[in-house]
Symmetry: C2
Subunit: 719 residues, 2 copies
């Protein structure tokens, strides 16, 4: 070791190039989901890991980098995937850090930065004094990150600190020059070989602090810090080496600061020779690497004082300056760099995920985003139900309607505009899908142009095949969806879907409007679907506690009713002979949004109930007994009126004479299929005879409340 002569200016202070934070966008994205999905309002500090490397490239000089994997793994994440990332890699020397992510901008601004920095300095100081830093030198370079993530705007306020213990008095520089000038050729070759071995071994590759011991025979060995004592004597020369992220010719990088503090505190040295290990093109480069000599003496009095005071912590500095050397918080917005559709998706998720922070931790967004909803009717109710579903995070929506958008529609049917009415009008189901995509491009919406075959609307023989085709198509559609909303404009168009839902045990929800009143109801489970083989485990678990569970296997009469269960006549043609005010949507405009909102909220309730479609009907009095769900009670029917501004929940059980959902009807449908459907369509009395309604009507005089459905009928001209 050809030690250079002492510098002519021994009082020059040793100055260090600070770390610069470099945060990958992926870090912020992962932080966003961690916050949204897992942390919620929890503000506890989060252990994170930064990475740095010995200088290899002036562009990344002094970088302390945060990557997605800097954050702790989320629940369920593959530990092995992350494990591979932490294998020794000198370009990913881990730096332990801590993240304080606040819930509000105000609390971010109010953070006591001085105390936080001091706390980190204390950790470093304690680990120096306990000897831990000699065992695991990574802990010498801690860092601190405070942040506020404005998840709504994809904007992140943040500030890094790289705590460095301040030597008092500061270190002065005796000498600093390229390593090539400090070694004999032999020493240099041996040093290079030793360095390459250290940085290549998986055991030491990411250990950034080390001892460089040069034997008198010019043989160089690199050893861990804990070997300090072994390296003394025998004419060995000792350099304190570290991976230097800095590429400047006259300054070592930031890690040296705490290293000097350790050397000073643990080994009480006054003069320190150090090696700033740097690389070029992936190999040790002694021309770029520096060797320096510094004086770090602590006055005897103070050293004694420090020794006596266990609470002593050296001063620390390290809050990152901006490019203009100002102490300011930084802010990054990812919105610009993100694909707008992805932004829309994450914004949509945000609305819902925030519900889980406090208001509704049990919200099951997964079941909402995967469920397939079929909306029969794309009128006033259908448009609003589709909007509500999207707002709740439902992504798979099929709208079925046979009509075109008419001039009177856009004012009440919230997916259409004036342009949809021009040139005869676009098909509603197509226009609705386009509108949903304009609202939220990631929605998976489909439109089906089709009329629903209706009982009491007899079919001429030549039209039979086409009607049966429609029946089969509806059957397939219902089979391929999880939920069916009955939002058509006539009573009789709800019959076939009700039957098909009862047959296949699909969730069916009906909404219907009068002039100033509405009814929203969920249909009960199918009559033949609750045999023991399909009884779910959840149901078993709950059956005892719910007791009075309204499923068919308990008691047929306890099943919840469908839209037709209260009727004493079979559905017939209700559209003929209706005057214009009966044909059109003569309802108070406020009704449809209310009924649609309730219909969707009812679905969300069903999806969150442990037994789903089998959930018994609840109301304010029953629910206290059965235990309320987080979303509240799950009624069977909700009826309300705008003339009284009231709303009530009702429970109606299924009828054994129901023309749409009783076991007789469903069995007959299963046995005879389309023949049965065609007979019902052409001969309404057939249903009444089958179900015993004919007999019933003879024996009683029931007054049925008739709900005037909204209508949008296209009366054909047959003159």
């Amino acid at each position: 070791l050809a030690m250079a002569e002492e510098s002519s200016s021994p009082s020059v202070l040793l100055q260090f190039a600070p770390f610069q934070s470099a945060v990958d966008d992926g870090f912020w994205r992962r932080l966003s989901s961690l916050k949204l999905d897992t942390l919620g309002i929890d503000q506890s500090p989060i252990p994170i890991t930064g990475f740095y490397a010995p200088c290899s490239n002036p562009q990344v000089s002094n970088y302390l980098t945060l990557l997605p994997e800097s954050l702790p793994p989320e629940a369920g994440e593959e530990a092995s995937v992350r494990g591979t990332l932490s294998l020794g890699n000198r370009n990913r020397c881990p730096v332990p850090g801590i993240l304080y992510n606040t819930n509000t901008l105000e609390s971010y601004r109010a953070i006591d930065k001085r105390s936080l920095l001091k706390a980190e300095a204390k950790k470093i100081w304690e680990e120096i004094n306990s000897g831990k830093a000699e065992e695991d030198s990574a802990v010498l370079s801690r860092f601190l990150l405070i942040s506020f993530a404005d998840l709504k705007k994809w904007s992140f306020h943040y500030w890094f600190a790289f705590p460095a213990l301040v030597l008092d008095p500061p270190a002065t520089l005796v000498n600093l020059q390229p390593a090539t000038q400090c070694f004999t050729l032999e020493e240099a070759e041996s040093l290079s070989a030793a360095c390459n071995k250290w940085r290549s071994s998986s055991l030491t590759a990411d250990v950034p602090f080390f001892l460089v011991s040069i034997a008198s025979d010019s043989n160089v060995a690199i050893r861990p810090l804990r070997d300090w004592a072994v390296c003394q004597g025998d004419g060995q020369k000792l350099l304190f080496g570290f991976y230097d992220p800095c590429n400047l010719p006259n300054n070592p990088g930031w890690p040296l600061r705490n290293f000097l503090a350790l050397i000073c505190a643990r080994w009480n040295m006054e003069k320190v020779c150090f090696l700033c290990y740097r690389e070029k093109h992936g190999f040790a480069d002694l021309g770029l690497s520096l060797v320096g000599e510094a004086l770090i003496s602590v006055p005897q009095g103070r050293a004694a004082e420090i020794g006596k005071d266990p609470q002593y912590v050296p001063n620390a500095v390290g809050w990152e300056l901006n490019i203009e050397k100002k102490m300011v918080s930084r802010r990054i917005s990812l919105a610009q760099s993100m694909d707008p559709t992805r932004l829309a998706i994450s914004a949509a998720d945000l609305n819902l995920k925030l519900m889980r922070w406090r208001a509704l931790p049990s919200l099951n967004l997964n079941s909402l985003s995967t469920i397939k909803c079929l909306l029969l009717g794309a009128g006033t109710l259908g448009c609003q139900v589709a909007r509500m579903l999207m707002a709740w995070g439902v992504r798979k929506i099929t709208l079925l309607d046979s009509g075109r958008v008419a001039m009177s529609n856009p004012l009440r049917q919230s997916l259409y505009t004036f342009d949809d009415c021009l040139n005869g009008g676009n098909m509603k189901s197509v226009a609705a899908v386009n509108s949903l995509k304009r609202i939220f491009p990631a929605v998976e919406a489909e439109g089906v142009v089709m009329a629903i075959p209706m009982p009491g609307h007899p079919v001429p023989p030549q039209a039979e095949n086409s009607v049966l085709e429609d029946c089969r198509r509806l059957q397939d559609l219902i089979a391929s969806h999880d939920v069916v909303f009955l939002l058509t404009d006539t009573r009789e168009s709800r019959w076939l879907p009700t039957l098909l839902c009862a047959n296949s045990n699909k969730i069916a929800i009906t909404a219907a409007l009068g002039f100033d009143s509405y009814v929203v109801m969920r249909h009960g489970a199918g009559p033949l679907t609750c045999s023991s083989d399909v009884k779910s485990e959840a149901e078993d678990a709950l059956s005892s506690q719910i007791g009075n569970l309204s499923t068919a296997h308990v008691d047929e009469r306890q099943r919840l009713g469908c839209y037709f269960c209260n009727d004493v006549v079979a559905p017939i043609d209700s559209t003929s002979n209706r005057t214009l005010d009966q044909q059109c949507t003569v309802t108070r405009p406020g009704l449809a949004p209310i009924a649609s909102a309730i219909a969707v909220e009812l679905l969300v309730g069903i999806l969150h109930h442990p037994v789903g479609i089998h959930a018994p009907g609840e109301n304010a009095t029953t629910c206290s007994a059965t235990g309320e769900q987080p979303l509240g009670i799950l009624p069977h029917q909700i009826r309300g009126s705008l003339s009284q501004f009231n709303q009530m929940t009702l429970i109606g059980h299924s009828s054994n004479s129901c023309t749409a959902c009783c076991s007789n009807v469903v069995s007959e449908y299963r046995r005879r299929g389309m023949d049965f459907v065609l007979q019902a369509i052409n001969h309404p009395t057939y249903l009444e005879n089958l179900t015993g309604l004919t007999e019933l009507m003879k024996s009683m005089n029931t007054l049925d409340v008739d709900w005037d459905d909204e209508s949008d009928e296209n009366a054909d001209d047959m003159l």
Copy 2:
């Protein structure tokens, strides 16, 4: 009169060219409004008037024309305007008609056309036999129109009949030739002069049947039918003349049929000479006019039989054939020919006008279409309230908001789409207005980009002027509107509008959302606006029957409360330190549509209440005493919850310590104006001191239900 020799083929039947209906679009338009605005479901036959003219132009040959004025005047229409139209005009010879306009296509199709025609024939027959037809010959040409107006599609199904009594045996033609060939030059000149005099006199111009008497001196006189007896003898020759709408050379027009029936029945003639009076270029044209001779003898036996039977009515024909001579109904659609925006307007009206047919006859569409609504906030609530207002026929809507459309908005804020979020987002108030116009081009919507000054958000001195400017602007906006909806996202932003509404006695309606609950309320009348000079007459009239009327001049404490009346603290800055889930719209998606619908229904209720803003708060129990309005009860507050699916009405009276609406506060605002506002903004305790809340809080411990408003806050970065 050089009478031609008898024809060589005397058994040729006389054949008549039927009337052709020609309906002006304006007739259908007027029928549409008559039906919508006046008739409703009333199907009574409507007397109408058709018009025809002597032939003047082959293009309009045989036209019986219906014009807008063919329909009876509507209530309030200027009778004089219509009076001028019925002045004698030979081009508008009136034909009495009757219109059967049905309510449904089915009943249109089911019309018993044979009976209707027979009934019209009977009228004609009776008026012939009573002599009335001789006095007013117009009644000889009656007509009948049956129709169904599909007002939703601007499509009209219709069918005309021009009842003609059938002679039995039919008339046979002896002779038919151009009039020029039948007269001497002298006779022809005299005839022309007489005709021109008849058709020019306002007394006779529109009398289409007349007698042509030719004296032996070739002098021609035209006389009314009642002069028949006078025209006998003295060597006079008599022709039966009529305005002939037909231009064919070999056929007289339709009016001659009933004329012959009259001649036969009243004057018992066997051989009839007739003159088909026709014109060309506006003058009598004897070359085009025809003179004919026909035999119309009735066998003696039958004539005696007819004379004995007072119920006898000749057979009649007359349902109009189409161009292919088929008996079919006609249909016309005006939709294609109308301006789309006009179509949209009429379609919008249709929805509402139909309500008046049966459901809500007292609906005041005029007050809705002229009222000016100011919506403070264009977020989830503002968008939906604007939609609901348009659906109710409100046309003047101003939206105020200071924000831009963010990615998370379109899924819940129903006026925005994904495109509105791109490139930083459009201003909400601007995007909302554009969206409203896309829905309904005739809406008069305006957007105001402005933030509402808020108490507890102190203003630095340099910003004072701009904040005061905003205050004055808000003041002007409220002054120029009739209704103010408070739909902002913070409690404190509702304070200044509440005060300004209380000051100027404007209808104010607040909607606010919690996580799964909502409140909608109307604010009471202003505290200083009910002095006797503004007390309306309606109020006087009702005050006795309502009794407990909650207006200030009865009792200050009976005034209905505002949004702040229950508070025991002044509004302060509530946006700072809110976590993301508190800042954002963390509400169940169903809430906003429900609350918005209720807010607008509440407004409609106020507008229909006899005392409007002074209407006392009603609920299901109170209203039975005061008498329910057609729209139902008019509550003060409606609160509801989605977790219980319930909804209730509440009444809260105004507080003398209210920081926004008590007389202290309003008086102080009137006295000190903007100074007062600024002090309230900068020093929240000022309001508490002024209203005595400070004292109140010391003496009591009230727990206030805090409604978490929806928020869409833009937190500024001040680091």
